[in-house]
């Protein structure tokens, strides 16, 4: 039997007997299409919020996510090597703090990084974007921006989002990590040291035990101090898709870091309008995480 290009594929994979026995027409019209269909089925699920599907058949990666509820994009962020920042074991983190950016929903994490690099003072500049994860998601009735989660400041670096004057109690394991001097501050290429100002009255800065997740957009009403806000006659709420995206990200973080068991919001720590109407949906978001097998308080 003359070998065609399809049977050559099978021969190269050790199926020479198979190609001899199965008629060429059957191979071309039924078996190969069926094979293609079954191998592509796992890629057709609705578990991905953007077009870049997870690379399920690629080579193993170091420290993979245990479950991928949402694709987390990584972009290179500029950092200020003259700025101080603090390191922590990721096991210190027990809480996700939700924010809104107060910017238009089209703002990119790179835009926020540029603005954050401009903040601070010449003596005490910001190191990089303050949030650990950034969620772009369209407002109700809008088709842009494309829903997308982008990693911001790495989780092993203390963020700058909950408020520098917010302090929270530590549990035993967090206290142990503090006592062992595992939370240290410094500048790139310099020695990192324990900074006693991280502790006040036995409590630790909230930024140390939390990560900031920002929903990019403005979910508070228009006012003198919020000219980017929504029209009072047309309130803006996070859409079901946005709530689901927050739930998926939160659950994914909990699956990888089981100590993360709380979801809070910015004005839980500080008198601020952030995160606007998103706060009203926290309980719904927590319920949504249960559908993915997670448990948040």
């Amino acid at each position: 039997m003359q070998q065609n290009k399809f049977s050559r594929i099978f021969i190269s994979q050790g199926f020479s007997d198979f190609s001899d026995k199965v008629p060429e027409v059957l191979l071309k019209t039924i078996l190969l299409p069926l094979l293609c269909l079954f191998t592509s089925l796992p890629l057709l699920g609705e578990d991905c919020y953007n077009c870049e599907r997870p690379q399920r058949f690629s080579a193993p990666v170091v420290n993979p996510w245990p479950i991928e509820y949402v694709t987390i994009h990584k972009v290179p962020f500029e950092r200020n090597d003259k700025a101080s920042f603090c390191r922590r074991p990721v096991e210190m983190v027990d809480t996700i703090v939700l924010h809104h950016s107060e910017t238009p929903s089209s703002t990119t994490p790179e835009d926020i990084n540029r603005l954050h690099l401009s903040r601070g003072t010449p003596e005490d500049p910001w190191y990089m974007i303050a949030y650990s994860y950034n969620i772009n998601s369209p407002y109700s009735g809008a088709s842009t921006p494309k829903a997308r989660v982008t990693e911001g400041r790495p989780m092993e670096l203390v963020g700058a989002h909950a408020g520098s004057e917010a302090f929270v109690p530590m549990d035993e394991s967090q206290k142990k990590m503090w006592d062992e001097g595992l939370i240290t501050c410094g500048k790139e290429n310099q020695e990192f040291k324990v900074n006693p100002s991280m502790i006040r009255d036995g409590k630790i800065k909230a930024n140390v035990t939390t990560i900031g997740v920002v929903v990019i957009g403005n979910y508070a009403p228009f006012s003198r101090t919020n000219p980017n806000g929504y029209h009072r006659n047309n309130p803006r709420y996070p859409t079901k898709s946005t709530q689901d995206l927050i739930a998926r990200l939160s659950c994914q973080l909990q699956k990888k870091h089981p100590k993360i068991t709380n979801i809070k919001w910015h004005n839980y720590y500080n008198a601020t309008s952030c995160p606007g109407s998103i706060k009203e949906y926290i309980s719904k978001i927590i319920s949504q995480t249960r559908k993915y097998g997670c448990d948040f308080k």
């Binding site: 200020n80 924010h99 809104h100 950016s101 107060e102 910017t103 238009p104 089209s106 926020i112 540029r114 603005l115 954050h116 690099l117 401009s118 903040r119 601070g120 003072t121 010449p122 500049p125 303050a130 700058a160 989002h161 909950a162 408020g163 520098s164 900031g212 920002v214 403005n218 508070a220 009403p221 228009f222 006012s223 003198r224 101090t225 919020n226 000219p227 980017n228 806000g229 029209h231 009072r232 006659n233 910015h266 500080n270 008198a271 601020t272 309008s273 952030c274 606007g276």
Partner: protein, 130 residues
């Protein structure tokens, strides 16, 4: 002589290109006129084109401004500002001197101010953090 010329150039440059308390104060005086007294004719002098576009257009912005309570109920504000560390951007902090935290709005806001056609204008706000 060389020193004098340098001084004159610096002096002229400051007034031509620099940002001082006066120009920032004027911007926020206009801003409060727009928001409190509904002087909507000043919108183009206060906000950048990008800001107006992202607010849904001038008509929508005017509608939002008109939906605010009248000026008699507005609290006093204080403003401070600083130049951003990168690029030609300024951050102005507007603080309402009130204890009333109703209506879900913040009593403090950080504005992004840039120059558009050589004039300071509000380009947006940014969430507080640290």
């Amino acid at each position: 002589m060389r020193f004098q010329i340098t001084f004159i150039i610096l002096f002229v440059s400051f007034y031509a290109f620099g940002v001082d308390d006066r120009s920032m104060g004027e911007l926020f005086q206009k801003y409060e006129s727009v928001m409190d007294q509904k002087k909507i004719e000043l919108i183009d002098e206060v906000f950048t084109k990008k800001f107006i576009r992202e607010s849904g257009g001038k008509k929508e912005l005017i509608s939002k401004i008109k939906s605010l309570p009248d000026s008699l109920t507005q609290p006093q504000t204080s403003m401070s500002w600083k130049k951003g560390l990168k690029g030609d951007v300024y951050f102005a902090k507007l603080k309402e001197n009130t204890n009333n935290k109703s209506s879900g709005s913040s009593s403090e806001a950080e504005f992004i101010v840039i120059k558009e056609n050589g004039k300071l204008k509000i380009d947006g706000t940014i969430g507080d953090g640290e």
